[in-house]
C-alpha cells in the first residue's frame, strides 16, 4: 500500500517538497476520519429525531390532541 504524501510549500522561499506522512500523521488522519464520521452520524440522528417530533406535533395539532413540551418546542420560533 502506498504511503500518503503531503505537499509542503515554504511561502518565504517558494520551495515545494512532497514527503510521506509520518506514522503519527497517518494515525491522526484516521482519528480525524472516525471523529468526523461520528459527528456526521450524530447530526443525522438529531435531524431525524427533530423531523419525527415535528411530524408528531403536526399530526396532534390536526387531530386536536395535546402536544408534549418537546413537540411544542419544535413549533416555537
Amino acid at each position: 500500500m502506498t504511503t500518503p504524501t503531503k505537499l509542503i510549500v515554504n511561502c518565504e522561499t517558494g520551495e515545494e517538497s512532497i514527503i510521506e506522512l509520518t506514522a503519527e500523521e497517518i494515525a491522526q488522519a484516521e482519528a480525524d476520519a472516525l471523529a468526523f464520521a461520528a459527528q456526521q452520524e450524530e447530526a443525522a440522528q438529531a435531524a431525524t429525531a427533530l423531523a419525527a417530533l415535528k411530524a408528531s406535533a403536526k399530526a396532534k395539532l390536526i387531530s386536536g390532541q395535546p402536544l408534549t413540551a418537546e413537540e411544542a418546542d419544535t413549533l416555537v420560533i
Binding site: T5, K6, L7, C11, T13, Q28, D32, F36, Q39
Partner: protein, 183 residues
C-alpha cells in the same frame, strides 16, 4: 495590487497540486500583514461524490482550539431547505469548504472556495475566520452543495502554517491555493 488608498492585497504564494496528495501545507507564512486571504479551487481525487475540506493551523490538533459554525445547503433549487447551524465546535480542525471528487460527476471541474483570517499574526488575540464555498456543477439538477460560515481558531499563537486536507482521499491534481496578505 492597490484596491483602495488604505488597503492592499499582496500576493504571497500560488500552489498547484501536480500529483495527488493527502495534505497541502503552506508554511513560513509572513507575519507582516493584518489578515490572510486564501482563495482555492479544490478537488478530492477519490470516489466520494463530495467531501469537506478542512484546515488545521500550526499543525494544532487540539480540539478545544477550533470553534466554528457552518451553514450548508443541498439542492435548494429542488425545494430542500438549507441546513443551518452545523456546530463544528470541539473538532480538531476547521471545516471550511465543500470539495468534489474527481471520478464522480465532475471530472474536470473544481469547487470554489475562499477564506479570510484576521488577527492571524497576533500573539494576544484569537483568530477570526470567515469562509464560503460552492461545489462544482455541470447542470443544476445534480447535487448542488454550498458551505458557508465563520468561526475562531482559539489560540494566542500566531499562525505560521496552514494544512489543508479533505474528508475523502486527498487533494487531487489541479487543486490550487492562492494566498494573499491584506494590509
Amino acid at each position: 495590487m492597490e484596491l483602495v488608498s488604505n488597503m492592499s492585497v499582496n500576493f504571497i504564494s500560488k500552489t498547484v497540486v501536480g500529483t495527488n496528495v493527502a495534505t497541502v501545507t503552506l508554511s513560513s507564512i509572513p507575519q507582516t500583514y493584518k489578515s490572510l486571504l486564501v482563495k482555492a479551487r479544490l478537488k478530492d481525487y477519490g470516489n466520494y461524490g463530495y467531501e469537506t475540506c478542512s484546515v488545521r493551523f500550526n499543525s494544532d490538533a487540539t480540539s478545544l482550539n477550533y470553534d466554528n459554525l457552518t451553514y450548508n445547503s443541498s439542492n435548494p433549487n429542488n425545494g430542500n431547505i438549507p441546513v443551518a447551524g452545523l456546530n463544528n465546535s470541539g473538532t480538531t480542525k476547521m471545516f471550511w469548504s465543500i470539495v468534489d471528487a474527481e471520478t464522480e460527476l465532475f471530472p474536470n471541474a473544481f469547487s470554489s472556495s475562499e477564506m479570510l483570517i484576521t488577527n492571524y499574526s497576533s500573539t494576544i488575540d484569537y483568530k477570526s475566520v470567515s469562509f464560503f464555498s460552492a461545489n462544482a456543477q455541470t447542470n443544476m439538477d445534480q447535487n448542488r452543495i454550498t458551505m458557508n460560515g465563520s468561526g475562531y481558531y482559539k489560540s494566542n499563537t500566531a499562525i505560521t502554517s496552514m494544512s489543508f486536507t479533505t474528508g475523502g482521499s486527498g487533494l487531487g491534481v489541479g487543486t490550487t491555493f492562492w494566498l494573499y496578505g491584506i494590509d
